[in-house]
């Protein structure tokens, strides 16, 4: 981590470079207002008011642009510091010249993410929200942007906090029996205790399990196009991309390496991977291709298994493949529908016929893919999911501690031992939002129970 003096006032153009209608320039830090006032030809900047004025180069006096400036007074700003936002005209001239005047007046160029870091440091957002800002900026799909927005709105933090509360409840009951045992407190039934711990653990594990959906929303779903050689896998990739991306030929074994391309459908990002046709072969190159294909297939969120309708009789390979990949959502795609419209009857599996080269049913295929992913990973528009491995690990650690706590209850251990595990579970949860350890257990007790002689 790089460090700069906190007295530094930082400035940057916050909109993307290029030919936009307007650009927004942001100055944050103790001197933000001073610096803005030097550049803007206005006497005063009133907090939370949009001020129309002109920006001038204080050195040459040259007018740079007509702008609208808004002053946000600390701590009521994005960063928690004094901030001025100047909206000027977009393009390559106005904003950079105003920015360079800011530098002349003593502001320093902001590091990437520094505004958000300051917001986090000043307690304007927790760690989850700070991460969501980064996700939002880098979002490549609608679904990823929406998820980041939900997290930024605090939905995920709320969820983690609810879990935290659930654990504090358990901890306070344990501590109550220890620290106030002289008093008339009905001891919690051990079965109930075990159940509460088990419930908390389930809730935490459920949130951990949303990792995959979070990742899919953020980074896209990995879709492997698999099947025997010559079934039309590369043709399907090209058809979906509407681009001659992969080499196509009637020779079986054309594709050797995996080819990945991203593709957006209804706001959802698919990472399509074309793979080498699967078959037993002596060809060393093709064998390497096959093992690469297998690896991608094993990591896929969704498999499109292609079968060739022009050779419909033998489905033994496909049936076995389906058997071996039961855990992953899979669509059996009968290709070359144009050559043979008779699709075999299948059981317990999603299947459909398409044509890759004479495009048919491709929209239906895409919608089916989306539907299967949504169903399997519960990607409805409202749910929040975690999106980072860091978060998942912390949740798993917490769940692990709760498992130990449950075992300790079962073994008849006394509260102080169980409390140790619960505390570890709480610590792990706190590391997710980056909030300070709360010694709130006693507070919790005083609010919930009448204790004290």
């Amino acid at each position: 981590m790089q460090h700069f003096d906190h007295h530094d006032t930082i400035a940057a153009i916050s909109t993307a470079t290029g030919l936009g209608g307007i650009a927004v320039l942001r100055i944050s830090g103790t001197r933000a207002r001073d610096i803005a006032l030097k550049i803007l030809d206005t006497e005063k900047l009133k907090a939370r008011y949009a001020q129309f004025c002109r920006a001038r180069d204080p050195q040459s006096g040259e007018v740079l642009d007509n702008v609208v400036a808004v002053y946000f007074q600390a701590p009521a700003s994005y960063t928690g510091e004094d901030t001025v936002e100047i909206s000027c005209h977009g393009g390559y001239a106005a904003a950079p010249s105003i920015l360079s005047c800011c530098y002349d007046q003593g502001a320093r160029a902001a590091q990437p993410g520094e505004f958000t870091r300051r917001a986090f440091i000043n307690g304007k957002m927790d760690l989850l929200q700070a991460e969501a800002v980064a996700d939002l900026i880098h979002a490549v799909s609608d679904s990823g942007r929406k998820l980041a927005n939900r997290i930024l709105a605090g939905k995920l933090s709320d969820k983690v906090r609810a879990l935290h509360h659930e654990l504090l409840d358990i901890a306070s009951i344990l501590e109550l029996e220890l620290d106030f045992s002289e008093q008339e407190i009905a001891a919690m039934d051990r079965k109930d205790l075990q159940n509460s711990i088990a419930n908390a653990k389930t809730h935490i594990a459920e949130l951990a399990a949303t990792y995959d959906s979070g990742r899919i929303l953020r980074e896209g779903a990995l879709v492997a196009i698999a099947g025997r050689p010559n079934t039309g896998k590369s043709s399907l990739l090209n058809a979906l991309l509407q681009e001659e991306r992969a080499i196509i030929s009637p020779i079986p074994g054309t594709t050797r390496d995996t080819i990945e391309e991203s593709f957006l459908h209804r706001g959802m990002l698919f990472r399509l991977v074309d793979t080498a046709g699967l078959r037993d072969t002596e060809d060393p190159l093709e064998r390497i291709g096959n093992s690469r294909a297998r690896r991608v297939i094993s990591e896929a969120d969704l498999i499109l298994l292609l079968a060739d309708l022009s050779r419909p009789d033998d489905l033994a390979f496909e049936i076995q493949f389906i058997e071996e990949h039961k855990k992953t959502p899979l669509i059996l795609v009968f290709n070359k529908y144009d050559l043979n419209p008779r699709i075999p009857e299948m059981k317990d599996i999603r299947y459909l016929g398409i044509s890759a080269t004479r495009p048919q049913n491709l929209d239906i295929l895409l919608d089916t893919m989306l539907e299967m992913l949504q169903k399997h990973f519960r990607l409805d528009g409202e749910s929040v999911s975690i999106s980072r491995d860091r978060q998942r690990r912390a949740l798993l650690l917490s769940a692990e501690a709760l498992k130990r706590a449950k075992e300790a209850v079962k073994k008849g251990y006394s509260n102080e031992f169980i409390a140790l595990d619960i505390r570890e579970a709480v610590d792990a949860l706190e590391s997710i939002t980056g909030e300070t350890r709360s010694e709130d257990v006693l507070n919790h007790i005083f609010n919930r129970f009448c204790i004290g002689k």
């Binding site: 981590m1 460090h3 700069f4 003096d5 906190h6 007295h7 530094d8 701590p75 928690g80 986090f120 440091i121 000043n122 307690g123 501590e175 220890l178 620290d179 106030f180 045992s181 002289e182 008093q183 008339e184 251990y413 006394s414 509260n415 102080e416 031992f417 409390a419 140790l420 505390r423 980056g434 909030e435 300070t436 350890r437 010694e439 257990v441 006693l442 005083f446 129970f449 009448c450 204790i451 004290g452 002689k453």
Partner: protein, 610 residues
Amino acid sequence: MKNAYDILVVGGGHAGVEAALAAARLGKRTALISIDPGAIARMSCNPSIGGLAKGHLVREIDVLGGEMAKATDASGIQFKLLNRSKGRAVWSPRAQADKFRYEDYMQRVIKNTPGLDVIAGDATELLLKANRITGIRLRDGALVPGRICILTNGTFLRGKIHIGDIQIPAGRYGELPSIGISDQLKALGFSVKRLKTGTPSRITKRSIDFDVLEIQAGDPDPLPFSYATKNFHPKNIPCWLAYTNTQTHDILRSALDRSPLYTGKIEGTGPRYCPSIEDKIVRFSDKAAHQLFLEPEWEGSSQWYVNGFSSSLPVDIQIRALRSVRGLERAEFIKIGYAIEYDYFPSHQIRRSLETKEIHGLYFAGQINGTSGYEEAAAQGLMAALNAVRSIEDKTPLVPERHEAYIGVLIDDLCSKETSEPYRMFTSLAEYRLLLRWDNAHLRLLEYVREAGLQSAEMIETFEKTRNETRVLEKKYSATRILPGNPLQIPLDQPSALSLLIRRQELDERHLPLLREHYFPEYGVDAVDQAFVLTRYEGYIDRQFKQVEKMRQLENRHIPTGLDFHRVPSLSNEGREKLIKFRPESIGQASRIRGISPADIQVLLIYLQK
């Protein structure tokens, strides 16, 4: 200065007593200045010592060479080990004390301590020269010269009693408040705030109908508080249990508008763990009955303490309400319950040595640091004196860490937490609770006992012996095999390691006498027991030590005194503010201050690396 004392202790409460005794025993000329020498070591409130977590404190005071445990053993009339059904770490001794015998015992010990003078007087002003203590001025104008002053004024600083809408300036019922010192310190720039606490009525014994109450006796085979106490055969005088009812609550509720708590006459915050009865019925209105403990204040006492009925409501209401309780219909009142408000000094103003950050030679201990409880006060008094003596001798302060003692937790909390209510000890405040057992205070504090210099050589030798034997026995327990048909009468089909039997709980505390007799006769009872506990909870204890290790990196990262936090870049605003206020001595301590985030800690670490 001629005839100057080394150490002046202001206040003869539980903090003052321990402070004065320790200072004098360490060879310093000491004066104990108290408004009323006859009230030295008085129990202001309930006649009991110890209890959960507080019992631990008393044991630690004892091994370090304090007096509280011995006084309790000598004056207790009922002893009980609390939480006995739970694990070792949370067992805690508690005693009902004969409050007169307790006072007498302490006053006698003080009288017989060479180098310790008791001065009857009301200290009104600290004498200072260039930010150093030079003495004390008393109300009558007398000057007492001294280079160090330990203030332990308890609830007396600008103390004010509330009963209904009546207010009486007082330090305790019938005792004058102390006026002067808190105003002086405030003028010197100290932060001074108000807290409140309360006490219940005392009623006559003959007016209690014991026949309808539940009896509560102590343990038949009690253990003493002090390691020095031998041949312990105390009295076992019972207490009694009564319950409030809805009628009681109605009476109390009808007069809430006359309570100084709700009319806003009291500004200080009271402890939530020790609420007044009116507070209880308001905050927990769905509870139909509250427990009351009736406790004798001394052996053969005609005066009984109504534990659980603390109140500041008007006299007539207190009387009517208590008389609605079954068994107390005819209650005759000797003293009425009251609330008391007093000045305290928010404890960010002291260092871990308990010396104030601003004035050299000035120490604060006890209630004036925002704590509550005899045990908490005594522990601070002892530590303040130890460190005052060490400062005279140019030695570094002696303060146990959080994983070593409840005293360590107490002091660290004082130096890193903001108190909004009187602070008392709870086992849940100790994150390394499993290490801080009441039975191993002598072992975990051994190095401190040696350094402190208050224990006899003999006692230290006993402690050392136990520690060494425990280490040996721990290994032996793993190596020893218990055979079928063993003298412990544990049914076995095949030989089994002793440690395994302990962990599987097939061998428990009850087997220990036989175990010692047949397998380890040459070892002490204490060591056999300690090794048992360590074996039994090995996994958990190891885990706690790992946590200690992990934190130690932070605890050992010293923050230079006088570090200008304004110059540390990238700290959060709140974090910076708190750092400036508390001036923590280590990163570990900083990490426990509310408002200092993990990000701030990272920032500090990086800054200190440079």
